[in-house]
C-alpha cells in the first residue's frame, strides 16, 4: 500500500521558488494499477520521485507498507521515457545488472537474464548495445532489467510516450501479460487517456501546477484485457467519454 499524505513539494532555484505539488492525498492499493493524468510539467514526475524516495517531500509524507519513506525505496522499479541503459554494456550485461549488484555469480545471473530476455521477446539480442536497438527494443530491455530486480511496485513515467502507436500497443500487451504473472502495484504517469483506460483500474487526474488531485474515477473494464480489441468495446467508449468531459471542464476552468 502506498499512501501520499498531504504531500507538498517546493523547489528553489537560486532566489526563485516554485511549488510543484500541493496538498496531494492519494492511496494506491497493493496489486492495483493506477494512472496519473495531468497537463505536462504539472508535477506528476515529482510525485513519482518522492514515492521512489529519490528526494523527500517538503510537506506531508509518503508511506509505503505502513512505514514512512525516508531513503530510496528499493522495492520500487522505475521506468521513464528515457531508457537509462548503460551504453557501454551489452544488453545481457544491462539486464543482469540488478543481480550483479546483489552479488550473484556470473553463470547464474546470465542464465536468469537470458530467460528474462526471452520472456520479453528479445532472445538473440544479448550481445547488442543499446545504440543498435530500436526504441521499442530498448523499452523491453528496461522492462527485463526492472523485472529481474523483482520490485513490488512499478513506477512508470510516460515510458512509452516516444514510441509509435502500434509499438505502444504491443508494449501495453506485454506489460499486462507481465503484470498478470506478478501482480505488482503499478503507478503509470501518462498524457494519453486511451493508454490510461487500457491499463489502469483507477485514474487520478491532476490539476495544472502546483499539482493537486482534480478528480479521480474507476475503470471497471474486466481483466484480463485484450489490448487490441478493448478499445473498440462500448464500455471503453463510455468511460473514455465520461473522463473526457470532466477533463475538458477541468482544463477549461483553468485556462480563462
Amino acid at each position: 500500500m502506498i499512501e501520499l499524505q498531504d504531500i507538498g513539494k517546493t523547489f528553489s532555484k537560486g532566489a526563485q521558488t516554485f511549488r510543484a505539488v500541493q496538498n496531494v492525498n492519494v492511496r494506491v492499493d497493493p496489486q492495483s494499477v493506477v494512472a496519473f493524468i495531468g497537463p505536462s510539467g504539472c508535477g506528476k514526475s515529482t510525485l513519482l520521485n518522492m514515492i521512489a524516495g529519490l528526494y523527500p517531500p517538503s510537506e506531508g509524507r509518503v508511506r509505503y507498507n505502513g512505514r514512512t519513506v525516508g531513503d530510496v525505496n528499493t522495492d520500487v522499479g522505475y521506468m521513464t521515457q528515457k531508457d537509462n541503459l548503460l551504453p557501454w554494456r551489452a544488453v545481457l550485461d544491462n539486464v543482469a545488472l540488478p543481480l550483479e549488484l546483489a552479488g550473484w555469480p556470473p553463470a547464474k545471473r546470465y542464465d536468469a537474464a537470458r530467460a528474462m530476455l526471452a520472456h520479453v521477446g528479445l532472445d538473440g539480442f544479448e550481445q547488442k548495445f543499446s545504440s543498435e536497438l530500436s526504441g521499442g527494443m530498448r523499452k523491453r530491455v528496461c522492462l527485463a532489467r526492472m523485472l529481474l530486480h523483482g520490485p513490488q511496485v512499478l513506477l512508470l513515467d510516460e515510458p512509452f510516450a516516444a514510441l509509435d502507436p502500434q509499438l505502444r500497443i504491443a508494449m501495453h500487451d506485454l506489460l499486462l501479460k507481465l503484470w498478470a504473472e506478478n501482480r505488482q502495484t503499478i503507478i503509470l504517469v501518462t498524457h494519453d487517456l486511451m493508454e490510461a483506460i487500457t491499463l489502469a483500474d483507477r485514474i487520478v487526474v491532476f490539476s495544472k501546477r502546483p499539482a493537486r488531485v482534480a478528480f479521480e474515477g474507476i475503470v471497471d473494464l474486466p481483466r484480463p484485457r485484450d489490448v487490441d480489441s478493448i478499445r473498440f468495446t462500448s464500455r471503453f467508449h463510455e468511460i473514455y467519454t465520461a473522463f473526457w468531459e470532466r477533463l475538458r471542464q477541468e482544463y477549461d476552468e483553468v485556462t480563462p
Binding site: T74, L86, P87, W88, L97, P98, L101
Partner: protein, 282 residues
C-alpha cells in the same frame, strides 16, 4: 525565359574562369597518403639543403651550425654511446612523472567530482595552483628532492596532475544522474555506483586528459634537467649551449623531437585501440 537565358550567358564566362583553379585545388586536397609522404619528405630535404647552403654564407655557422655538422655530432654520440644515459634519464623521469601525476590527477578528479562541497571549497586554491608557472616550483623541488631524478619527476608530475585532474573532474561531473538513480533503486552501494557507472562513463574524459598531459611530462622533465642536473637531454642542451657548441644543441633538440614523436605515436596507438572499443560499445 528571356531573362533566364540572359543570366545563363552572364554567368557562364565567370564559371569557366573559376573552374580551373578550383579543380586544381581539389586535386591537391585528394592527394593519396604515399604521395603525401613523399611531399613531406621533400619539404624536409629542401629545408635542410637550404640550411646547409645558407649557413656560413648568409648567416654565421656559429649561430645556426649546419645539418651535416649536427648529423656528425649525433652520429658521434650514438657510436660512442654517450647519448644513451641521457636519453634513458629523460625517458625514465618523463614516464615516472607522467605516472605519478596521472594517478594523483585521477584520484583527485574522482574525489572532488563526487563531492560538490569539497570542490566548491577548494576551487580558488586549485585555480591558483593552475595559474602558477610550474617551472617556478623547480627551486623548491631541487631543495626538497636534490639534483637527481626526483626533482625532474616532481616537475613533470606537477605539470601533468592538473591536466588529468581537470578532465577527470569534468568526466565525473558529466555522469548521468538518472543512471546513478537507477542503480540506487537497485540497492547499489556507493562503491558499486562508482565502479559501474561513474568510472566507466568518465573513461573517455580521463583518456583525453592523459593524452594531453604526456607531452607536458616531457616538457617538465626537460625544464628540470636544464635548471640543475648532470644527466638527461635537457642537461645536454644546457651543456652544449654553455660550450658554444651549436651543433650539440641542435643534435639534442633533434633527439627530443624524435622522442616527442615516439610518445605521440604511442598515445595514438592506445587511443585507436580505445576508440575501437568505443565503436563496438556504442
Amino acid at each position: 525565359m528571356n531573362s533566364d537565358h540572359l543570366l545563363d550567358r552572364v554567368d557562364q564566362p565567370a564559371e569557366t574562369a573559376n573552374a580551373k583553379p578550383r579543380r586544381r585545388r581539389r586535386r591537391l586536397e585528394e592527394v593519396g597518403t604515399p604521395v603525401m609522404l613523399l611531399l613531406q619528405a621533400a619539404v624536409g630535404v629542401a629545408f635542410l639543403v637550404l640550411w646547409q647552403l645558407l649557413s656560413g654564407r648568409l648567416i654565421s655557422e656559429f649561430l645556426i651550425s649546419t645539418p651535416l655538422a649536427i648529423l656528425g655530432r649525433l652520429w658521434g654520440w650514438i657510436v660512442a654511446g654517450s647519448i644513451f644515459p641521457h636519453l634513458w634519464a629523460t625517458v625514465e623521469a618523463t614516464l615516472l612523472g607522467f605516472a605519478i601525476g596521472s594517478v594523483l590527477g585521477v584520484l583527485g578528479g574522482v574525489w572532488l567530482g563526487l563531492s560538490p562541497f569539497l570542490s566548491r571549497l577548494l576551487n580558488p586554491y586549485i585555480w591558483a595552483f593552475n595559474a602558477l608557472p610550474k617551472v617556478a616550483l623547480a627551486p623548491l623541488f631541487i631543495l626538497w628532492l636534490g639534483l637527481g631524478i626526483g626533482s625532474k619527476v616532481a616537475l613533470a608530475a606537477a605539470l601533468v596532475v592538473f591536466l588529468v585532474f581537470v578532465n577527470t573532474f569534468a568526466g565525473v561531473r558529466e555522469v548521468d544522474n538518472d543512471l546513478v538513480d537507477v542503480l540506487r533503486l537497485m540497492k547499489a552501494t556507493r562503491r558499486q555506483i562508482l565502479a559501474k557507472v561513474v568510472l566507466p562513463s568518465a573513461t573517455s574524459w580521463i583518456f583525453t586528459g592523459l593524452k594531453t598531459a604526456l607531452p607536458y611530462a616531457l616538457i617538465g622533465t626537460i625544464m628540470g634537467e636544464m635548471i640543475a642536473s648532470s644527466r638527461g637531454l635537457g642537461y645536454l642542451i644546457q651543456r652544449s649551449g654553455s660550450e658554444f657548441d651549436t651543433a650539440g644543441v641542435f643534435a639534442a633538440l633533434t633527439v627530443i623531437a624524435a622522442l616527442a614523436v615516439v610518445f605521440n605515436e604511442a598515445v595514438n596507438l592506445v587511443q585507436s585501440r580505445l576508440e575501437g572499443w568505443k565503436v563496438v560499445s556504442r
